[in-house]
Amino acid sequence: MLKLDHVSKYYNVGTVNEMCLFQDFCLEIGEGEFLSVVGSNGSGKTSMLNIICGSIQVDSGKIWLDHQDITHMKEYKRQRRIGRVFQNPAMGTCPELTILENLSIADNKGKPYNLLPGIQKKRVSYYQEQLSQLNLGLEDKLHVKVGSLSGGQRQVLALLMSTMTPIEFLILDEHTAALDPKTAEINMELTNKLVREKKLTTIMVTHNLRYAVEYGDRLLMMHEGQAVLDKKGKEKEQTRVEDVLDIFNAISVESGN
């Protein structure tokens, strides 16, 4: 369970450029819930993710993860329980290291990075098995540097790495936005499979309204730091892409975007 409790965040306080990112923002995501978030640029979607991850500190309010207050917990410490996939495929992997080395680093998350061998030989077959399920032929390229893979392959690898160890919360930050339609589709299906299999509490920010409607248990639309639409259960199931698009357009016209 994740809870943002009356969170406020301002930029450039006391200057003419003062900007309110969030004011008294509340959001609760239940355990195992898959939340899709849509909204125009600058609506606060990515900032919300950064607040959850700890790369942006809030001015007031609290952040709870499974009844533990993590508001002042350091960013890297929060990551023990959170997995994150970024929009840019380059951000989720190490280009100069091989696939095997990347997976080995991810496999060790939460444990000490000490002087034991970096690669656990007995885990190699497990990595190969995981990679072969992707049908991208990556299982035969364990010793290839990740930098030489395509964006789609890297993004799939990033997804695999972020969910390799037991996490409580998965964050997907427009993770299909930089991919071609076919690769994005494959990636999205894999995401859904992983989330369902591992029963991960997930928050997915996307600009693809169809993905937001098709996948996930709950749909949230953000605008100027507020949730303007929040549908779950039956209501969400009955939502069509056109409905979301209509609301989206109405808000955009209203705010002059």
Partner: protein, 294 residues
């Protein structure tokens, strides 16, 4: 023959330092100028210990540890006080100039006729007479290879992997729930430990300490790393650490050749700078062509 031996000796001594610079420049992507101070730091500590008739073998770990300590200071300045990487190194380099003078007590400290790692009872007993002429180069080879193999081993451990990851993509290190600042501090410590170790061996080979030993250390190290990694890039059987060592020897060879051609030893720094520029330009040209081919 003497020239070849001297090139090999100095090339391999500087190679230990270049391995340190390989960590900061290539792995961490951190232009660390601390090395201009940590190299003479190792030399100063060694000269003082040797002049006090301490066991010369002891100078090696002591120099490494002191180098690691100043490396950690640079890291702390950068990470905790949020000073830019280049400036953190410059601050430490400047501070170390005084520290080195204080340690040695003066700007120049000779250690002639003293027991060193090259000249002691153990070496005299262990090496046959015929090899005595090569004892310096053999001992340096031993130390350099030991440094290389230990570093190779370290880079294949979990800690080594995360060190390589931090230079490659910091975001991933945070995502793996690791404090990237701590990893950088560890990397800078190991690097400067190696640089100080190199200074330690250098002082014993030269048989004196001079406060100006450190000037240009960064440039020599960088040149070795760039020569090594760009020339031997395509030979995959060769580990990068081996390439760096060969790069360092080649670089010393080039400098020796320039002196042989009639330049004065006072021209050395100018030659160093010119050679370095040449290597950088060739390296860039190489990269540009590589991109055009692709």
């Amino acid at each position: 023959m003497t020239l070849l031996l001297s090139v090999l000796e100095q090339g391999m001594i500087y190679a230990i330092m270049a391995l340190g610079i390989y960590i900061t420049y290539k792995i961490l992507d951190f232009p660390d100028l601390t090395v201009d101070g940590s190299f003479p730091l190792g030399a100063a500590i060694t000269a003082v210990m040797i002049s006090q008739d301490k066991n010369p073998l002891l100078t090696l770990p002591v120099s490494f540890l002191c180098g690691a300590l100043v490396g950690a200071c640079t890291g702390l300045i950068h990470v905790k006080l949020k000073v830019r990487d280049l400036l953190s190194g410059i601050i430490m380099m400047t501070a170390l100039y005084t520290v080195n003078l204080r340690i040695a007590g003066r700007a120049n400290l000779p250690i002639y006729n003293k027991t060193t790692i090259f000249d002691n009872d153990l070496v005299r007993a262990a090496l046959p007479e015929a090899l005595m002429k090569f004892r310096t180069v053999l001992i340096i080879l031993l130390i350099t290879l030991a440094a290389k193999y230990i570093l190779d081993w370290y880079l294949r451990t979990k800690s080594g992997y995360i060190l390589r990851a931090v230079g490659d993509n910091e975001v991933i290190v945070t995502a793996m729930a690791v404090d990237k600042g701590r990893v950088k501090i560890i990397g800078l410590s190991i690097a400067n430990g190696l640089v100080a170790l190199s200074g330690c061996v250098f002082a014993q080979q030269q048989r004196y300490f001079d406060v100006s030993f450190g000037t240009g250390t960064m440039v020599i190290g960088l040149a070795s790393v760039i020569i090594g990694t760009s020339i031997f890039k395509r030979i995959t059987v060769l580990r990068v650490t081996s390439s760096v060592i060969i790069g360092s020897i080649l670089y010393k060879g080039c400098v020796a050749l320039a002196i042989k051609l009639g330049f004065q030893s006072s021209d050395l720094k100018l030659i160093t700078a010119a050679l370095f520029l040449l290597i950088l330009v060739i390296g860039n040209e190489h990269k540009r062509r590589g991109k055009a081919d692709a």
